[in-house]
């Protein structure tokens, strides 16, 4: 950051932090890590501005001055789900195709003396972080860009896991175990088949996590349907039928992204989101109908949807700790001058589970999805292997209950006071 120090006075640069894409139960723990680290290094970093609704806040010069928030409220971010500053599903276009957007970002950063760019998101967002760092270099603007991993889908490469995933994993494994106790009670005269639809558009990590609920073949879940394994209707129905005959009931975990052999999603709504991804939902009810029509069995289904990724009340303690650590480390790496990197979780050992924070060049991360390895899925395609279990188990470990008041978890809503605008120009999104 030599370029910003000069003229005899130490000119502290400000920092910018934004949340991007679908939020999680612990993305605010990363925000907490970033803000607390920035405050701790107040001699080196001026103000920490957050983008209101992610990168849109930077583009529209709608910045939040986090210095108005009390230490107590910032600490409460650690146990508050959602994105405290607002997130955005907004992907910046290629540098070549839309130079104006990147130039605008730099213009806003320059106006507010922002020397650090922290971007908290998944693969698309890490791609944006990389491009912003390239643009800054091209424009000769001194900016240290550090990505912070976040995604319930656990599909970022290099990092051992993605903050946000461990808590969803804990939620779905707990939920399917609990629902299985219910179904087991009812099966004699009522529900025989229970289907839980979980998130994970392309990668089956969350579906795999359902498998943590059971330890032998008669324990639920009896059947998992991964997006990585083409859906075979007959094999599915046979497995359900055989399980009901043997166990008395059958519990299924299915990914929202399960696909037919021709590659189309089992259930497409026909809608697409801002990133051009198909909006899914309904694989669970669809399978339930199949079970009723073809096997004549009584069913129930649940679609947890946002409940699974916002369930801070059941967060994994390991996940919370990692989310915080990758946020804090982003600031520390930036202060050491590491640019165009993403913080990562490194697994040091399996048993006992040990981890530390690392970093990776953004080039190695951007726009790459990590699927569930084939050897994490059993040969028949319907379950998880011991290897998968070894990987997943530590990520759901430990509880980190939020404070409860009057029977409900207490979450913080920040003041989110705006930074006065400095530019006379507007930017159309």
């Amino acid at each position: 950051m030599a370029g910003v120090v000069g003229e005899g006075i130490m000119a502290r640069m400000n920092a910018f932090y934004a949340q991007s894409g679908g939020v999680t139960a612990v993305i605010n723990a990363s925000a907490c890590g970033v803000i607390e680290a920035a405050r701790k290094h107040g001699d080196l970093i001026g103000k920490l501005y957050a983008g209101r609704h992610g990168i849109l806040g930077a583009l529209t010069e709608d910045l939040i001055d986090t210095s108005w928030e009390s230490a107590e409220d910032i600490r409460a971010l650690r146990h508050t789900p959602g994105g405290a500053f607002g997130s955005a599903r907004y992907k910046l276009k290629d540098l070549e195709k839309n130079r104006a957007e990147y130039e605008r970002l730099i213009e806003v950063f320059r106006a507010h003396r922002i020397g650090y760019f922290f971007y908290n998101g998944g693969g698309d967002s890490q791609d944006t972080t990389l491009k912003v760092s390239q643009m800054a270099r091209q424009m000769g603007y001194p900016l240290v860009c550090v990505g912070i991993p976040k995604t319930v889908d656990n599909d970022l490469p290099v990092t051992d896991c993605c903050p946000g995933f461990g808590s969803v994993a804990k939620y779905v494994a707990t939920s399917i175990r609990e629902a299985a106790f219910d179904v087991a009670s009812m099966a004699r005269t009522s529900t025989r088949v229970f289907i839980l639809e979980v998130m994970g558009r392309h990668a089956g990590w969350i579906t795999a996590a359902c498998g943590l609920a059971g330890h032998h073949r008669d324990e639920a879940p009896h059947l998992l349907l991964f997006p990585e394994v083409p859906f075979q209707k007959q094999a599915f129905l046979e497995k359900v039928s055989e399980t009901v005959a043997r166990v008395g009931y059958c519990v299924v975990g299915v990914s929202e992204g399960v696909r037919r052999p021709d590659g189309t999603f089992l259930s497409e709504t026909g809608l697409k989101d801002a990133f051009g991804h198909a909006q899914l939902g309904g694989a669970g009810p669809l399978l339930a109908q199949m079970v009723r029509d073809e096997l004549g069995l009584k069913y129930h289904w649940a679609v947890a949807d946002y409940l699974q990724r916002s369930a801070r009340h059941l967060a994994s303690r390991v996940d919370v700790a990692q989310a915080y650590a990758v946020g804090r480390a982003a600031v520390e790496f930036a202060l050491k001058g590491h640019n165009a990197v993403m913080t990562t979780v490194l697994r040091v050992s399996d048993q006992p589970y040990r981890w530390k924070v690392g970093r990776v060049a953004l080039e190695e991360v951007a726009n790459r999805e990590r699927m569930l390895p084939r050897d994490f899925i059993t040969a028949d395609g319907f379950g998880i292997t011991a290897r998968c279990r070894n990987y997943l188990q530590p990520l759901v470990a430990g509880e980190a209950f939020p404070p409860f008041e009057g029977g409900l978890p207490q979450y913080v809503t920040l003041r989110n006071r705006a930074v006065p605008k400095k530019l006379g120009t507007e930017f159309k999104i």
Copy 2:
């Protein structure tokens, strides 16, 4: 129980306990209360037999000898969801129409020297308990019958609340609060409307409990759809639209049993369960489509289904305590000779909340549903009143987390050893 004491020896009678209907996160806490109380009074009660799959276990002479279970495992029932002995959706017919079923019950009870009948269920089950007591009297068989309330629907009369409800209430209020934090983060570029479908076929108690999540009109949930209030499409869409304009997003809690003005369910699957009730599901997705088609807003929906009633990890401490207490009290009332009664929860005071266990004659309970009072619903039909909040608040109070191991809640599965059959006859269900 004068009739069973004679011939110079104290002939201890055995007891029978069965779970009935849809299970809950805390029905096993009632079982725990019954069993621990029966063990404590071992001088008066012989063995405690449980019906495998509820009343079916009695009809088919498939009894479970709970004396094989360790004190530790019985204690673990207090934190285990589902029905540990199996439940059943099976309603005995009228005494006049199907005398044979009742006679069979008495035959099985006589064979196993059962002098106490404890039946843990909702309105239909209390009706059965009443009829069994009437039949025993007609047949001159000495049997003390005590009902134990249980239903997530909270629709039993007389008792201030039904064990099982408080925990679902806590789950839905927590879940909708958490999901609202998620939606608030995403609304700028993505999801504007989130819809959570909850249980409660005829009575809107669970829907009302969603309302605990917010305290003023801009706080989620913004809109509740009760089964007691006929669904008005235009009013619904206007309220959604107005909320999105004002708050930026809209969170909706909807009962699975919401009905059109003509009385038909908004979403019927066309299936009926064993009690002849229509099997529902899908009001949430249906409303979501309406929002998309008529308002063009991006939506997400969740159907928690069994997750809400099995979520022992988030049980209300008050609910667990009450479930245990109504089970224990059933044994104590029976030993005092109270016959054909149901144990109840009596509210002694609101603030501070105090309660105790009471009892009511089964005639006053059987086959009566308690709807949400009109003055618990706001004038516009879309929210809850302060009165409703005062009633609900104490029921979700306190946490009672189960033990966790390896990141997941640890629940008990009992041995459930069968009692050797004594009758040479089979009974066809």
